[in-house]
Amino acid sequence: MSEHDNGHWEEHVKVYLTVFGALAVLTVLTVAASYLNVSETEAIFLALAIATIKASLVAGYFMHLITEKQTIVWILALTFVFFLVCMFIPIITEMDHAKLA
């Protein structure tokens, strides 16, 4: 990414500003969605879905993951798998249990 003319950068800047706009809209949406009358599970799903979209925009465009080398993407994919393991396996393990506390 070292030799780009100014025109090319204008394209990039357009993308960044568009993403910024999208993030702003999604933030408003997140807050609005929290006032909807839905079940707890649906609320969690909705909030996490919107957050995931926002995070993907930041990761993909601001952090350039969309054009990043495979090595990095694979490392992150692996990390994400273990992240999910760390997040959900403990709680699934304890859900069979009579009481947690």
């Binding site: 692996l78 990390t79 273990f82 393991v85 760390c86 403990p90 304890e94």
Partner: protein
Amino acid sequence: MSNDSHHEENFIQKYIFSVDHKIIGLQYGITSLIFLFFGFTLMMIMRWQLAYPETVIPFVGHLFGESGILMPEQYNMLGAMHGTIMIFLGVVPLAVGAFGNYIVPLQIGAVDMAFPKLNAASYWSYFVGGVVMLSSFFLPEGAARAGWTSYPPLSIFEAGQTMWLIGMIFLITSSLLGSMNIIVTIVQLRAPGLSWGRLPFFVWAQFVTSFLLVLAFPPLEAAAVLQLMDRVASTSFFLPSGLVYSGATVDVYGSGSPLLWQHLFWFLAHPEVYVLILPAMGIVGEVIANNTRKPLWGYKSLVYATVFLGFMSFIVWAHHMFLTGMGQAMSAFFQTTTMIISIPSVVILTAFFISLWGASIRFTTPMLFALAFLPMFGIGGLTGLPLGVGASDIHLHDTYYVIGHFHYVVAPGTIFALFAGIYYWFPKITGRKMSESLGKLHFWPSLIFMNGIFMPMFIQGLAGVSRRLYDGGQLYAHAQDVLQWNEFMSISAFCLAAAQIPFFINFFLSIFNGEKVDRNPWQATTIEWSAPSPPVPHANFESELEVHRGPYEYSVPGADKDFSPQTEK
């Protein structure tokens, strides 16, 4: 940042805050060896108490109070700190910090690690963590005494735990920075011609180990912060509601979970045991290839097994928690993954055994330790199987059987491999060889007494003797028939200590008086042996290198000698 080696460095820059991976590796090595022997001493005191309960401890009894007899809470302190020190201050810093730092850049033909200053920072963070941990012995509260596993609620209320937690935060930070450095170094700084398929197995082992450290340690760091807050900020992350301590209801919000700690702790601590074994397997691979004068058998299977092992290590942790009341489904899940993870270990061990077939074995001291590793790790691994199966684990959990199992893997397992590494790479580091006779005098008694200490533990464990008992099981009817082993094991421990004396003498004498050797005294093929001994500061090699072949081209048909170095044209 360019590594400017043209200016003269003062003593501090050159030896204290050096950014040269070799100096840092030596710093890790010396510090960790001191911690290892300190941790060993703690164990000897415990073993005295177990063999001769409530008698005055020789030499150091006065440190434990007027009576000179070990008190129960002091026993618990020694136990918790022995485990912590051996794992986090001893073995991992030696295996990864010392061997990883010193050897990996040399074996890939690099001038240094990718981030030399970060490397120095990692060492000093480890050093501070170690000082914090050890200083706890001298504080009024004393050292941690809730086991190296620090289970709440005990760890929230017992004295000495706060320093343990603070120390761990420094140690974990050190580990994270160091392993990140190793990964980038291996990916980015391999010499021209050194493809992934030509990497020595030691480098693959360090690579996977570093991934384990980078991804598994952070949840423990998070948990340590939470436990610290439970101790000092009256939170109740790990404290359930309605807890009564010392007769009074604990005044916290409650609604926390001790199991949360166990999950976060073991999420790291299981991969941690593979951190303990992988570098050791790496060393054994190097020493076997070199002393059999043939390529390692099954290089590809070794690599795939190591990578698979690393991945699986993240999804077995709750086999340490079978007795916490988890449901059948998850118990079955963890039993299955645990059984599966034994497969790559067997693949690796088998490949090493097959490597011996038809070999011209040179029984040098490193080779003796490497050969002994194989059956010792075999015993350790096999004894793990009944622990991985829920039904048998119900009987064996938290008994001496467990202690026997994991010590076989780490003590005559990893530590023997580390000794092999020291004897093997000593000539590269110092330009001199260690004495073979003193080496054998170190090896044979060590092998015998290791077994003397740990084999009877299986007997005691099967009889149901619990671990972490101050009196070694005296009060229990089921233990009476096996108590006599306590004295036997303790005497073996003291003899094992004595067996290390030839090692010490050898180590120090050889630095000054050892047989001077050229740069490749073992006629080895890997890249580190083409550097001078010791390698050039900040540059390692005298000229640019290029790699032309795989790591274990020994006894190539038609070659003029029985080894073809990687960098030779």
